[in-house]
């Protein structure tokens, strides 16, 4: 049973099936983010039900996706353990001896008859091979000298770091998800300081936000000038922009986007300030009107939640939805008891006191004196800690390095036999290059060099007849097949 399971995980056929299945899930998940499934449903109405399920199913967070990844990871590990000893043996202690049958039946071979003694023939062949950077091992068995030559023999090991890197990538992802954190909307208004949380002891103050736009209105610079505090002490200052995050301790801050904020002051009826600060607008929007940015802040000192809605930024779009009809410089506010549901902002809701405020003009709302001081801005940062990053970097290097070694430095091997013959020496060589055209071409170059050194032309056997051989050794001339056809 264990042997069957082991063979299952080592099977290349099953590996192909697993990778293909994973590719299918990835394709399904990718198309989910497009209109392609709906096009299918529009063309074949009977598939609408399946398409609805398709849009609902998050393939990348499904159990089947995780199970397939796990299966492939296990298969990689088992296959690596299975192949490693054989590959290492082939590198360190290759089989040197060959057989006449192999050389005769090889797809490509070269047979020499040389009028020199056996020893100098062996030396010249060795010289020709070493000129092409082959390692040469010879072994005398009876009357025959067996020759084994290889180069880039360590290239085969490149497959191991590549495959192990795939497992490491998964490990890095799991480590990051389990032991890290990511806050995608860390909003800080200009002049405000916000705690990072997550046990970091860090807080961040936005000193200034700098943005600029090209004549077409597209942003060409987004920069947050910030100061980081740790346990109340300033530890770092600098600028965060989109491709230049800032790190300190266990947190990294990434520039994400920008929001506007309303600087508000809440005072008691006697004018004593209870609270003053920014209310970030744009995290929410007015119910029924997406163009009216809204936000709220809980003020425990006053026992209230202050909700603020800004003017409609796109009055041309569905103007009937703009029930507040705020002008520039105005904010609509609502005072609710602390703990009210967020985002439930209704201009017609008369349960809680609400009012339109003009810039700088205090108003009594819900028993408090509330002032809209000015408009300001807030930066939206992402804060993350991903302990899986070092694992990812190592995996990335292993992956690319392994691929480069395997594909750009392929292993080449040549086998041969040399023995004394009447009048001199006989030799026969063949490459291990089945379905490897480049390997055959390299063998052809070796044969050419060997022939020059020995002063003897071989009897050649090449795939597809002599025409292909000519194309390999003299690539600038048209092949005889073409010459015959055109002539």
């Amino acid at each position: 049973m264990i042997d069957r399971i082991w063979r299952f995980f080592c099977s290349v056929r099953w590996a192909v099936a697993e990778i293909a299945f994973l590719a299918l899930i990835v394709l399904i998940g990718t198309l989910r983010g497009s209109e392609v499934p709906q096009w299918i449903a529009d063309a074949i109405p009977a598939t609408q039900g399946i398409v609805d399920v398709w849009y609902d199913w998050d393939a990348f967070r499904s159990g089947i996706f995780a199970a397939t990844l796990t299966l492939i990871a296990v298969a990689i590990a088992v296959c690596t353990l299975n192949r490693a000893p054989g590959i290492w043996m082939a590198i360190s202690n290759p089989t040197v001896t060959t057989s006449r049958g192999f050389l005769r039946n090889a797809e490509m071979s070269a047979r020499y008859t040389v009028d020199q003694d056996e020893q100098s023939t062996i030396e010249k062949f060795t010289q020709a091979l070493q000129k092409h950077r082959y390692r040469v091992i010879t072994r005398k068995v009876g009357n025959d000298t067996h020759v084994y030559a290889d180069k880039n023999r360590f290239a085969k090991l490149g497959t191991f770091p590549f495959h192990l890197a795939l497992i490491l990538l998964l490990v890095g992802g799991i480590v990051g998800a389990e032991f890290g954190f990511r806050d995608q909307e860390f909003v800080v208004a200009v002049g405000a300081t916000e705690p990072v949380g997550h046990g970091t002891g860090l807080s961040l103050k936005l000193n200034e936000f700098i943005d600029s736009y090209d004549p077409t209105g597209i942003a060409d610079r987004f920069q947050a000038d910030v100061t980081i505090f740790e346990d109340g002490k300033e530890v770092k200052s600098g600028v965060i922009n989109v491709n230049h995050p800032m790190s300190h301790g266990s947190a990294t801050f990434y520039q994400s986007s920008i929001l506007f904020a309303a600087q508000m002051t809440v005072s008691d009826p006697y004018g004593t300030t209870i609270w003053s600060g920014p209310v970030d607008l744009g995290v929410f929007h007015m119910t029924g009107n997406e163009d009216a940015a809204a936000g709220f802040v809980d003020i425990p000192e006053a026992g209230i939640r202050l909700t603020v809605v800004g003017p409609d930024v796109n009055p041309g779009n569905a103007p009937e939805l703009d029930t507040l009809q705020l002008k520039s410089g105005q904010m609509w506010i609502q005072v609710q008891p602390l703990g009210a549901a967020p985002g439930a902002v209704q201009s017609t809701n008369t349960e809680f006191p609400s009012q339109v405020l003009d810039l700088g003009v205090p108003a009594n709302v819900g028993g408090f004196q509330i002032t809209f001081d000015r408009e300001t801005r807030a930066t939206v940062l992402q804060v993350a800690n991903n302990p899986g990053i070092p694992i990812f970097v190592i995996a990335a290097l292993m992956m690319v390095g392994g691929l480069v070694v395997v594909f750009y430095f392929p292993q080449r091997r040549i086998r041969g036999m040399i023995h004394a013959a009447p009048g001199g020496t006989a030799a026969m060589f063949a490459p291990l290059a089945r379905r490897d055209w480049s390997g055959k071409r390299e063998f052809a170059h070796f044969v050419t060099n060997a022939s020059d050194l020995l002063g003897s032309e071989p009897v050649l056997k090449a795939p597809g007849g002599i025409g292909d051989w000519a194309a390999m050794t003299h690539p600038d001339e048209p092949s005889p097949a073409r010459q015959k056809a055109v002539g």
Partner: protein, 300 residues
């Protein structure tokens, strides 16, 4: 700067005409000459029977030679188009689909002429140049304002990594175009046994070698994209559709490389996988038109 942008466009126009002409020459070279043979026979009863058949023979070498010359001219013009636009923009032209396609046209034609030189075969040009020409047609159809050089939006202001990430993608897709062409010719060779096409072994080899060049490059694209995503978006993988489409393409070619070791999966089946792989490349390349996500900027 405006002058350089105009010069870049004129070089692109020259390249597109040259590649079109190269494509025609290569197609003529690959398809060969067609002779219609008529046979007329009169029966003893006086009835006349006629029959005709098409006889194919190789085209003259000169067609291939002209194709090569025109392809090289197209490569040089495309290179100057990319160079002048780079100087004008201050960065490699890869920030919108017009620029990306311009660089891709250069890459695909350059990669093709390298393979032609290494393998001494011109027949792949019929397909690869058709892809390059098709790409130039697509560029002609893009809105004219995409030809203008605009400042990079903040998300793209990461020149070193953007250059290497996008360049790797372009080179990977270009080499997969060559593997696609090799697969098509392989299937024609196997099914029709056209004598003047390269041997099936060589076509199989070219397809494999192209993938061995492109697959590491595509791996680099995914890796560098993840590194850049971590700096720009705070996470190195966010299941963005363009990311997952590239991953799908990578998996298809991973299947191909594994099937190379399977008996019975070489030859025809491998060729079909290469065709499917190139379809995945096209799907990823034009993905911006199908899905939004974090890669949907730069106009298109």
């Amino acid at each position: 700067m405006e002058g350089l942008v105009k010069l870049s466009f004129y070089c692109f126009a020259s390249a597109s005409f040259s590649l079109a002409a190269a494509m025609l020459c290569y197609i003529a070279f690959t398809v060969g000459r067609v002779r219609l043979q008529h046979a007329i026979m009169t029966t003893p009863e006086g009835t006349t029977i006629s029959a005709s058949r098409a006889e194919f023979s190789p085209a003259p070498e000169s067609f291939g030679g002209f194709g090569t010359m025109l392809a090289w001219f197209g490569v040089v013009m495309a290179f100057f188009a990319v160079l002048t636009r780079t100087i004008a923009a201050g960065h490699l032209p890869i920030s919108n689909m017009f620029e990306f396609s311009l660089t891709f046209v250069f890459a695909i034609s350059a990669i093709y002429v390298v393979f032609e030189r290494v393998y001494k075969t011109r027949h792949l040009g019929a397909i690869v140049m058709a892809i390059a020409f098709g790409m130039t047609l697509y560029m002609w159809m893009l809105p004219a304002d995409m030809r203008e050089v605009n400042p990079l939006i903040p998300a793209l202001q990461a020149k070193p990594i953007m250059t290497v990430h996008v360049s790797s993608a372009i080179l990977a897709y270009a080499t997969f175009s060559v593997s696609f062409a090799a697969a098509v010719l392989y299937l024609i060779k196997i099914n029709r046994n056209v004598s003047w096409l390269p041997g099936a072994d060589m076509l199989d080899e070219i397809g494999f070698r192209a993938v061995t060049v492109g697959f590491p490059l595509l791996s680099l694209v995914l890796i560098l994209g993840s590194v850049w995503a971590n700096d720009a978006w705070g996470t190195y993988w966010s299941w963005d559709p363009k990311e997952t489409a590239a991953l799908f393409t990578w998996l298809v070619y991973a299947v191909y490389l594994h099937t190379r070791t399977l008996r019975g999966w070489r030859g025809k089946r491998s060729a079909y996988i290469l065709l499917f792989g190139f379809a995945a490349v096209i799907f990823t390349y034009y993905g911006n038109y199908f899905f939004g996500g974090l890669h949907a900027y730069g106009g298109v």
